[in-house]
Symmetry: D2
Subunit: 313 residues, 4 copies
């Protein structure tokens, strides 16, 4: 199809309206002031199909801190850089623990369980860094996001990055711990510096949905035809998002929504409907597992009304 | 389509041939003699599409001990019996631990993480038992499998069941532990008795593929039209198989195969391609996570040649 | 000295009076009705010096359920039976976990950390059982206690034993778990049966203090001259009581009281002042670690007034 | 007594001779080159009684890296500085885990179990630092050791300190982890800097035995009469050494030696015989728990020949 589907437009606007009206919103992340000050009533949604038709609702054009959603793109970059050698440094299994747990690292010799928990994402960042300067590496990550989103206005929120650095003692613990096992190769400060900054990238739902479109289309942007990664790699990243993309709420997200997705503590979720669309939602309040409360409900409603679950039609 | 796809026939027979020729076979489970004595060179495969066309290869008609694959069917039964109240007794998250771990139970007040680790499946069995006699309950489970497989010859291997009972101290530990937290309601011996017996059900690949067909078709058997469960419930069981169906190798299976699946230590795997087919493979040798080594490779090959991954086409 | 020390008499009666007046009593154990029904206002104390002079205060002659204090005597018996081979089945380190934790067993292949946590005491009981009948073994344990206490009226409270058996699922979990690793050699039911019954032995403070006297005198009863164990073994049992005798409150007890001691959830504590005296206290209310709240405070006061700490005079 | 005991002289020289002849020596710590290069055949021993008579054997005057033995003295200083408020930042229980484990910190909100595991000693160092400059704090620690040892030649081995700093990623992980829970109050780098340097203090057995003498004499140096701490505090530090002084080998040390002691990975052990003597041994090879192999055996032999166990005479 080459025309926008009027039903999708309706569904997205309905959901945005419903979500804005709800009073159950979860708790906004408080660990840094820049996140705590975000208005919990915000809700944004953007859906882009394989023809490039975009449907938006609510605050779809307001930039927010993508936080851990950046891990999808750093994983993509790291796989491009070292291929399957990446898996020497990080596993592919759900962790069964909260996002910032250090227990598992002790049991498994400093190798994090997957690229989407904090420790795993720090290890992935270390692979991208690969002996270079932090500034250079960070530039590469930002340019990659601008490239896949086709939008050069995407930026790093320096205040968020500075706050993360000031208060990121738990991430510093994870990084030093992995370093003690030889899993990290660069200076801890370099790796953490890049990590804190790429988590501080700000994007709107519209930008984020577009940035994820290649994952819904076998690794190729269906609009401009750019090939980002191979079809096999796109499938595998989607599989990792499905099993590990929501920390210790990944099973619940698969059960309720049935789409690969990755959340961030800024309240965003990027979801992928393979062969159909890329979707981004944003609602700042989080549930107990640290995932956007209304974001998940919005995607559950989307899956229900479109029948887009990957587990049956 | 109403005619068998000749390509599928070819793919299945090719894979069966390739697998039979491989010498890397993993280790046959040794904890009970009945499993240890199985010939490690066996390989069977059966695929049934939504039209009921069945393609088989290797030892597809030889019954084997389905072991944990039975947990898919007891979960289906338990949900039918108590609905979402089941989730008070068992979670929906990957465990991040081996199949028989007890650590997680201590941390989480005796509530197992999901219905597919041993503790979770014992809790599910307890829900089905629900105050009744073990014999009656076991009869219900067996009849359900005979019903979905449309085959009354399916039986319980009493020698396997007796062996499991004699040596099942770790499962007895799990059951008593949950009982101490009030998660189990029936006498521990009753629940374990039913559990050991339903794990000892023997089926062939052909029977197993047919038994799982309703999961590939939104809860309804596409051949005889019988509705087994709702479409939503079928999707959700598939989601649980994807995130938790291979113990601490679930992420790996999702990454490599990309289909919901459930393995058993007898060497069987049931996989579901939603909207397309149900597949059963059997190869007795296991990998380190306790899943069939060649079974997983066979399904990886199937997914590669058919493009059936749920994560992209 | 061969005459009773009037100061000790005064100290014991003072402490008994003070403790009876206190209103902070902790929580009586509730897991079986027989323990929950005990009057929390009870307090008993008995001290016997190496000349056999006995000083008592409060309810010193009222029998109570000694529970885990029995583990000191089963350890003594097991060492007598198999010597240092016992240490193949159980360790000698503090556990760093609550008394009924199962986590450590998984990490350490079913070998409990020490003979005084539940798992360790069950393993010790299994060693005493050693292929015999439960009744015979239990008789041996009871007769040993009657022998060291020089009192044939000591008995097993059958109601307590029956209750423990009915509700002891967590201990059944521990026993089955160890059995799965081959740490237990007898049928689980046999071992648990003996364990539940020796924990149900009832003794008064006076009986208990006398029973422990050999530990204060290098393994020999100083009154009747009976040699129970070697001096080295007595020292080593005392060392284990000091490091492991109060579960996850052992460090606290060493820090505050400074004497080897063993507590039970019935509210009793047996303490040993090497070269000086054996002391038993009883106050049913427990602290968070499961040790007698006033019992510990009474012993702290005793140590303060006598200067009997083993860590300095 | 005011004259040296000729038997003690004999015992010490006998033990030094026996130990030098043994070929089982354990493994020298390798994590920093300065420790790895120490000759594994070294053995030193010094015993000083309450009259100040000193008996030495082997390499008793050769300085070695005291490493974790410094934790006894920083604990003493921190208690002097803040008294029992210290216990808000660190517990008093054995850990049941290796010396550098981080698992327990996650379970217990960043509060380390005791002052003698690495995390606990870092927390204690942070309390001493208390807003001051690292250099000033380190000076205080060094001067305290020179004061209690009555020897101003005691020094910090700067090469060892620099190496620890370069490779101390695991300690940096522990410190950052505690910082994330608010347990540390100073900048992580400050606290770690002081910690690495006080672990790098070099002392001989003779100096170390003298430095520990106040712990054997109720807190007062019996030779020069200086009061260091109260008798109660000395007893309590001894109790902590007994229950926690040898990491996950503390139970074993209490069982075999029966004296409060603190080990360091440099191969030293300081042991205290309350009311009798202070003893230091040094043998660089370590056992699996990270404690001096021959050092422990030497002290076991000393306890056997003197009958100095605190658990019986």
């Amino acid at each position: 199809m080459s025309m926008a589907d009027p039903d999708l437009a309706r569904i997205v606007s309905d959901i945005a309206e419903e979500m804005s009206a709800r009073t159950d919103r979860g708790q906004v992340a408080t660990y840094i002031p820049e996140l705590a000050n975000v208005d919990p009533a915000r809700f944004g949604m953007a859906l882009i199909d394989l023809d490039g038709h975009t449907h938006v609702g609510g605050d779809a054009d307001m930039p927010f801190s993508i936080q851990s959603i950046s891990k999808v793109f750093t994983l993509t970059l790291a796989l491009g850089r070292v291929g399957d050698r990446l898996w020497r440094k990080v596993g592919r299994e759900p962790s069964g623990n909260p996002f910032n747990s250090i227990v598992q690292l002790e049991r498994e010799m400093g190798v994090p369980r997957n690229p989407f928990i904090n420790a795993g994402a720090i290890a992935v960042t270390d692979v991208i860094l690969s002996g270079r300067q932090p500034r250079e590496t960070l530039g590469e990550i930002l340019r990659f996001l601008q490239f896949v989103a086709e939008d050069e206005t995407i930026f790093i929120d320096q205040e968020v990055a500075a706050s993360e650095k000031r208060t990121g003692f738990r991430n510093a613990a994870l990084a030093n711990y992995m370093k003690s096992f030889g899993v990290l190769e660069n200076p801890v400060d370099f790796t953490l510096g890049v990590y804190f900054h790429h988590c501080a990238i700000a994007m709107s739902c519209r930008q984020l949905a577009r940035a994820g479109l290649f994952l819904a289309n076998n690794g190729r942007n269906p609009v401009n035809g750019h090939s980002v990664i191979s079809a096999e790699r796109a499938r595998r990243i989607n599989a990792l998002m499905l099993t590990c993309g929501h920390y210790d709420g990944s099973g619940e997200f698969a059960y309720r929504v049935g789409l690969p997705g990755k959340s961030g503590v800024g309240g965003g979720i990027l979801a992928v409907a393979p062969g159909l669309a890329s979707v981004a939602v944003w609602a700042p309040g989080l549930d107990e597992a640290g995932n956007s409360h209304l974001g998940r409900i919005a995607l559950e409603e989307l899956a229900r009304r479109t029948g887009w679950s990957i587990f049956g039609h």
